[in-house]
Subunit: 207 residues, 2 copies
Amino acid sequence: MPRERAARKSKQMLNAAQRLFARSGYAAVSMDDIAKTAGVSKATLYAHFDSKEKLFAEIIEIESPHVEERVPIPEVFEGDAEGVLRNFARGLASFFADGRGLEIYRLFVTDLHRFPDLVRRFHAAGPMALRARLSRLLAQMAERGGLSIDDPDLAADHLTSLIQGRLPFDRAIGLPPPDAAAIDRHVESALRLFLRGYARASRGGEP
Amino acid sequence: MPRERAARKSKQMLNAAQRLFARSGYAAVSMDDIAKTAGVSKATLYAHFDSKEKLFAEIIEIESPHVEERVPIPEVFEGDAEGVLRNFARGLASFFADGRGLEIYRLFVTDLHRFPDLVRRFHAAGPMALRARLSRLLAQMAERGGLSIDDPDLAADHLTSLIQGRLPFDRAIGLPPPDAAAIDRHVESALRLFLRGYARASRGGEP
DNA sequence: GTCTATATGAGGATAGAC
DNA sequence: GTCTATCCTCATATAGAC
């Protein structure tokens, strides 16, 4: 059954490449490393993927749409706005705090710019998709809840920026991850600022 | 005059290395590139710097303290809080929007983590120093102005996070820089949220 | 498709003359 | 200190047998 075996090996190679690229970046990973980790020969690797760049591109294509799925944003808002936002905020903060988000972040910052067509696709499927979902949620909250939001996209960016903060940068340069309590404080303070800044005004203009 | 010439060549090499590392990152730059750009031989380069790593470390040491100086934060606050913060915000946003901040950002995210001692020194001299200055300023504003700030360090992080936003990430992955008008809108909206979120409460608690 | 073995080139680092 | 020329390792990519 050569077809099955080929498919299995192909997955092995993609998995190995994904792990290695994520851990060390494009330049630091050799095709030898990938082949060895996948348990195949380099020639087999090249039989499936034309070049290191093509292989990297496939990894990015696979990873990109998953980014948005790591953070919980319900499609429809019902009830507790603060709780929903807290959930999103904790998801996003943990994503950056643990090693997984760090690897993706560093990989993208370091290497993605060399693949312009991937940039466009990733940006649409990742950050823009996430913002769109958060934005729809915030718009619903503005309508039904106590928030005053003129521009939901902008508000989504503000919340995301506050939650993200220096987390990915600090992790990327090698600082240790914050513990759970620190993440919690970080999330709570960001939420307080956001909710207060976007609270319906008792008097005065929009934020 | 061998001493003068040596010093001059040393500067040439440091300049070349700085430009090349900033543009392409540690891995993508070869010692040949640096020597050629500096107009010296590779052997001369190695006579001055023991290794590529040592050379990179020197570049980081030189760059680090400059980061905080690119953004205007007065030591003493007088008068117009919003104007002072706008000035800071515009400086920071431009820093990330133009190519210079992008290069430094990418260089640090990509390569700094491999030099742990540099991480500590850079972090103290760069982000922490900047936050300390902004924090002192915000504390003064809370005292004399209309802001309600319990934890100035936290507030400084919030403001910086809002201003920074996705700017460095978007630039790093290869998206085009925002134009002046977009930066201005970005800065103004972030400032409005910050000032409103940290406004002295007419009623209700701290943010 | 998969392997072993290798061609080809690039890059970090050094030897030795001046 | 500076150069030219070179060593050596390692990485991308391929040839050729099975």
